[in-house]
C-alpha cells in the first residue's frame, strides 16, 4: 500500500502576535510547527501502514526550512519525504497550491502507484480546508472529507469504507481506491517517535524538488500568477466604539454589583427582559 500524506509547515498560532501599528504578523521568534490537523492524517496513514504494510510518503510545499516539518514526520515513522520548494510557488492561493501538489503526487505515483492521499482537515494559519478537495479533483481521486474513522479497507477489491462527519450526524460511505481523505481532528492520538526513527530522521535525505522536478507543466498555474484570489486588505479587528460599562466588586458588595448590572441591562434592553420572562414563565 502506498500512501501520500500532505502536510504544511505553519507558525504556531498560539504564539502569533500582530504588530499593533502595521498590522502585520510578527513571525520573528514564532516557532514553525507541523500543522496540528495534519498529524491526525499522518497517524491514520501510519496505522494503515502498520496493518497492511507498504510506504508512507510525506509531501510538503514550502520554503527550504519546511524540511524540518518533514523530518519531524519521518521521526514518527513515515517512509519517505519530498519537499516541493521553488520561488515560483510563492504567493500561491489554494487553487495554485492544489495544482502544484497534484503534479508532485502524480510524479510520486510514477515511482509507485498511490492508493490513498491524506491531508489534514485544514491548516491553522489559512483555515481554508480547500486544498484537499482541490487535489482530489485534479487527480480524479474520490474525495472523502472530514473523515472521523476508517471502518474497512479491502485491498483486493480496492474498496474503502469510512465514516464522514456531516451536519447533525455521520455518513457511512463506501468508495474505491485511490481516494483522498481529509482527516478530522481528535480521531486518533499521535504516537511517540521511537529512538530508532528519531535517529533515522536526523540523517534522512529529504528530497527537494523544484518546479521542474515536481512535473509542473504550466507555470501560469502556480504561484501568484496561478492564483485567482487577491488579498486586497489586511487589518486588525476593529475596537468597539464604546468600552464596557465596568463595575468593580472591590469597590462595593457583590450583591450591589449584580443588582446594579441587572438594572442596567434590563433598562437598556427591555425586550430582553420581556423575552426571558415569557420563555421562563411558559
Amino acid at each position: 500500500m502506498h500512501i501520500v500524506v500532505c502536510i504544511k509547515q505553519v507558525p504556531d498560532s498560539a504564539q502569533i502576535r500582530v504588530h499593533p501599528v502595521t498590522n502585520t504578523i510578527m513571525r520573528q521568534g514564532v516557532p514553525a510547527i507541523v500543522n496540528p490537523y495534519d498529524l491526525f492524517a499522518l497517524e491514520e496513514a501510519l496505522r494503515l501502514k502498520d496493518k497492511f504494510g507498504g510506504r508512507v510518503t510525506m509531501l510538503c510545499m514550502g520554503p527550504p526550512q519546511a524540511e524540518d516539518a518533514l523530518r519531524k514526520c519521518i521521526s514518527f515513522g513515515a517512509t519517505d519525504a519530498v519537499l516541493v520548494t521553488d520561488r515560483a510557488f510563492a504567493g500561491a492561493d489554494t487553487l495554485a497550491t492544489s495544482y502544484a501538489l497534484a503534479a508532485a503526487i502524480r510524479k510520486i505515483g510514477q515511482e509507485q502507484a498511490v492508493d490513498l492521499v491524506f491531508t489534514g482537515k485544514q491548516t491553522i494559519d489559512g483555515d481554508t480546508a480547500q486544498v484537499g478537495p482541490g487535489i482530489a479533483k485534479r487527480l480524479g481521486l474520490n474525495l472523502l472529507t472530514y473523515v472521523s474513522g476508517i471502518r474497512d479497507i479491502d485491498l483486493d477489491a480496492r474498496r474503502i469504507k469510512v465514516e464522514r462527519r456531516a451536519e447533525g450526524g455521520v455518513q457511512l460511505l463506501d468508495s474505491t481506491l485511490p481516494s483522498l481523505i481529509t482527516m478530522l481532528e481528535g480521531t486518533n492520538e499521535m504516537r511517540f517517535a521511537s529512538m530508532d526513527d528519531m535517529l533515522r530522521a536526523a540523517r534522512f535525505p529529504i528530497r527537494k524538488w523544484n518546479k521542474d522536478d515536481a512535473g509542473i507543466e504550466d507555470v501560469s498555474k502556480i504561484g501568484l500568477k496561478g492564483s485567482p484570489t487577491i488579498v486586497s486588505k489586511v487589518f486588525g479587528p476593529t475596537p468597539r466604539a464604546t468600552k464596557a460599562d465596568v463595575q468593580v466588586v472591590a469597590d462595593t458588595s457583590v450583591q450591589d454589583v449584580t443588582l446594579n448590572l441587572l438594572q442596567k441591562i434590563f433598562t437598556a434592553h427591555p425586550s430582553l427582559e420581556q423575552e426571558l420572562v415569557e420563555r421562563l414563565g411558559a
Binding site: 494559519d125 456531516a166 485567482p228 489586511v234 464596557a244 463595575q247 457583590v254 449584580t258 441587572l262 421562563l280
Partner: protein, 366 residues
C-alpha cells in the same frame, strides 16, 4: 500557500504578471447565487442567512438573487423554494434526481458546475459547513476560479465581491477579491450573518435542469446516515442565552456555578478552547474560531480573558457581560457590561439576582 496575508497595497492593481482584468466573456456572468443546503427534510439555516446577504449584494449590483436546490425526487424542494423566495430569492434552479438524495461530492459537484456553466452567476455563496466546504472546493477547482473560505463579512467593491475572513486564528482579518475569474465563490461561516426577515408575499420562478448522471456513474455510495445522539440537546449556535466559562473558573468543579446560572436563565452552557481541551466541558460546547460561532441575545462570560480566537466566535452577540478578576483583560474591550471580580463569588450572586428578579416578573405576568 493559502491566503496568507502579505503587506499589500490598498488596491490590488499592478501586481507583477497578474491578470486583474475581467474578459468580455466573463462580463456576461450576472446575478448572485446561494447554494441551499438541506438534509433529511430540513434546510440548514445558514442558507437563509446567506439569502439575506445575497439580497443585499444583488441590490447593490442591480441584479437578481437565485437559489440552487439539488435533491432527490421525493424531497420537498418546492417547499424549500417558497421559503427561498420569502427570504429574498427571485429564482430557484432545481436539479431533481434520485442520485442527489443525500449529499455526495461527485454528483453534487457535477450538477452545480453544470448549472454555473449554463446560467453564469457572478457570485456563488455556500455555507462554511462540512457540505458547503466539501462542495465549494471541488466546484471552484473544476471551474478554475477563486474561492474564499469561511468568510465573516461580504461587500461590493467596485463591481467585485470583497470577502473578509479571519486568518491566523482570528488575529487578523483579510479582505479577498477575485477580479479576473467568475463566478466569485465564497463559503460563509454559519451564524455570522443575520437571519433575514421573511416575506411570504414574495414569489419567484423556478427552472429545472436535469443532472445527466445515473447511479452507476457514481463511485461513492452512501450506505447509512447515523444521526448524532446529542443533536437536540446542544444547540449552541442558535441559543438565545449562553453562559460561558473559561480557564479563570480555576477548577472543573466550579463549572457548577456556570450551570446554575444557565438553568435560571434557560441558557445553554459554553466553554473556551482551553476549557474544552482540559476536558471540563464537551467539545460540542466550544465557542470560538475552532468551535461554534454564536450570536445570542445575552452572552455571559465568566473567567474568560477574551483571546481573539474566542472573540471571533461571539462578538456579534446582542449583549455581552464579562466577569473577570483582571481589569485589563481584553474581553472588557468588546463586552458591553463588565464586572471586575472573582467569578466564584459573582456568579452565585448573579444567579440569585436573576432568579429573584425574573420570579417576581413572572408572577406579575401570571
Amino acid at each position: 500557500m493559502t491566503e496568507a496575508p502579505k503587506p499589500a497595497p490598498a488596491r490590488p492593481a499592478g501586481r507583477a504578471g497578474r491578470n486583474t482584468e475581467l474578459s468580455e466573456a466573463l462580463k456576461a456572468y450576472k446575478g448572485v447565487w446561494v447554494f441551499i443546503e438541506h438534509d433529511r427534510g430540513h434546510v440548514n439555516p445558514v442558507s437563509w442567512e446567506l439569502m439575506g446577504e445575497a439580497r443585499k449584494l444583488a441590490d447593490k449590483l442591480g441584479v437578481d438573487v437565485a437559489g440552487v436546490l439539488m435533491g432527490g425526487l421525493d424531497e420537498p424542494l418546492d417547499a424549500f423554494a417558497r421559503e427561498a423566495y420569502a427570504f429574498g430569492a427571485d429564482r430557484c434552479y432545481f436539479m431533481r434526481d434520485p442520485v442527489l438524495k443525500g449529499y455526495r461530492n461527485e454528483p453534487f459537484t457535477k450538477g452545480l458546475t453544470d448549472l454555473v456553466n449554463k446560467y453564469q452567476p457572478e457570485i456563488m455563496l455556500l455555507g462554511a459547513t462540512t457540505m458547503g466546504r466539501d462542495l465549494a472546493g471541488s466546484v471552484a477547482t473544476t471551474l478554475g476560479t477563486g474561492l474564499t473560505a469561511d468568510c465573516t463579512e461580504l461587500n461590493i467593491d467596485g463591481r467585485a465581491l470583497a470577502a473578509t475572513r479571519p486568518t491566523f486564528g482570528g488575529s487578523l482579518l483579510c479582505t479577498i477579491m477575485t477580479l479576473a475569474y467568475r463566478p466569485q465563490m465564497a463559503t460563509i461561516r454559519p451564524r455570522v450573518m443575520q437571519m433575514p426577515r421573511r416575506d411570504d408575499s414574495r414569489t419567484g420562478d423556478g427552472i429545472d435542469t436535469p443532472l445527466g448522471m445515473i447511479e452507476t456513474d457514481v463511485v461513492t455510495k452512501l450506505i447509512e446516515f447515523i444521526p448524532d445522539a446529542t443533536r437536540n440537546t446542544v444547540n449552541l449556535a442558535y441559543a438565545d442565552v449562553i453562559v460561558t466559562g473559561g480557564k479563570g473558573m480555576k477548577q472543573p468543579d466550579n463549572f457548577k456555578l456556570i450551570w446554575d446560572l444557565a438553568r435560571v436563565l434557560g441558557a445553554e452552557v459554553g466553554g473556551t478552547r482551553p476549557v474544552v481541551q482540559a476536558g471540563w466541558i464537551g467539545a460540542d460546547r466550544q465557542v470560538g474560531q475552532t468551535g461554534k460561532t454564536v450570536r445570542p441575545k445575552l452572552y455571559i462570560a465568566a473567567g474568560v480573558s477574551g483571546a481573539i480566537q474566542h472573540r471571533v466566535g461571539m462578538e456579534s452577540s446582542d449583549v455581552i457581560v464579562a466577569i473577570n478578576t483582571d481589569a485589563n483583560a481584553p474581553i472588557f474591550e468588546f463586552a458591553h457590561y463588565g464586572i471586575v471580580g472573582n467569578a466564584m463569588q459573582v456568579l452565585p450572586a448573579l444567579t440569585e439576582a436573576f432568579r429573584s428578579h425574573l420570579d417576581k416578573r413572572i408572577r406579575k405576568v401570571a
